[in-house]
Amino acid sequence: MSTYVYGITAATHPSLPEGTGGVGDPPREVRILKEGGLAAVVSDAPEGLRPKRRELLAHQNVLSEVGADGCVLPMRFGSIAPDDKAVTGVLAERAEHYAERLGALDGRVEYNVKATHVEEAVLHHVMAQNPEIRALAESNRQAGGGTYETKIRLGEMVAAAVKDKEAEDATTLERALEPAADAVSVGPESTGWLANVSFLVKREAADDFLEAVERARGDMPHLEVRLNGPLPPYSFVEPGPAEPAGTAAGGADAGAG
């Protein structure tokens, strides 16, 4: 029977969610494996586990429960050990490392901030700051929309200006929130959002951080800022840069082992 691993915490954690429902349908019961000063939060691994919404939620819920009362090193979704012994083996082998991380992250939580432009507002900005774009838009309009070529040209100019603005706003937002956090982890760039940044925040300083977010929202009304947290410190489990995503793409199947 292979073992699904949710996270690693201290054996002294005050309220481990033993018996809670974990991944799988029906939900597999959460168990605790202790080894030395550490504890792994695990359950049986269901056959053919897939990254479905309910499974991701189950993973996240178990970790939220552990994280509510103490520090936990959250595993990435879908980590499966051949058996319980393999889990305790890893705990024993890397005890020092995990203890160090738990110490470093103790009393801290992750807040993830994602921002997008309010499109109309950013277009106003871009037009306001760029006479060339304004002129071309105006001449297009007077020509009843403009030709395909002039539309493309305008669109290209706008897209470039919006991109610059995205980078500028991402930096501004990050700088605005950074002082209220212990550490910052910038997520992968994508066109889905202009900023995707996680902040490690002391629990007792959470209010300051939330205030900083509110201030940033007020200062930059052309951004939609989405805040999620407090979360287990997904982005801060490793001291160095995160492993490249490719390492996870081995296609290892849930059924294995």
Binding site: K52, S64, F77, H124, A128, G155, V237, E238
Partner: protein, 145 residues
């Protein structure tokens, strides 16, 4: 105003926040090389897809149209404040209105999810469709599951 989700403890399977947290659950967190990982077919694809858009003819045309519709007279003056607009957008919760090319990711993610769900994860159907916008916000779809 965007709601800050309360601490997500307990089994309250509310999907709010899940979408934004997904990427963390899937992409960050501790990896132990002695353990195997569940195959993320479909989800891996999303990582590639999510980076497309912006530099496309579709986007250019859409921006051009949007600029033509903007009220230039009111535009520059009104620009810094825009409280009405922002209030309206966030209050209605209609994220769909504000994105278009600026965020194709939402659909891509939920598509990838659907894909993964439908098992046929290797189909690249969802790729390179920057304009494939649905009327319903992406969360709606997730909630159907």
């Amino acid at each position: 105003m965007t709601v800050v989700p309360a601490q997500q403890t307990g089994g309250g399977g509310g999907s709010s926040g899940l979408y934004d947290v997904l990427e963390l659950v899937l992409d960050r967190g501790l990896v132990i090389d002695a353990f195997v990982r569940v195959s993320l077919v479909g989800i891996e694809i999303l990582k590639i897809d999510v980076r497309v858009v912006v530099a496309s003819v579709d986007t250019y045309l859409r921006f051009a149209e949007a600029c033509n519709r903007l009220d230039l007279e009111a535009g520059p003056r009104k620009d810094p404040g825009l409280p009405d607009l922002v209030g309206e957008m966030t209050e209605s919760g209609a994220r769909g209105k504000s994105k278009g090319a600026l965020s194709g990711a939402a659909e891509t993610i939920s598509d990838a999810f659907k894909q993964a769900r439908d098992e046929g994860g290797s189909e690249r159907e969802t790729s390179s469709r920057p304009r494939a916008r649905k009327a319903a916000p992406p969360r709606r779809k997730e909630e159907q599951e």
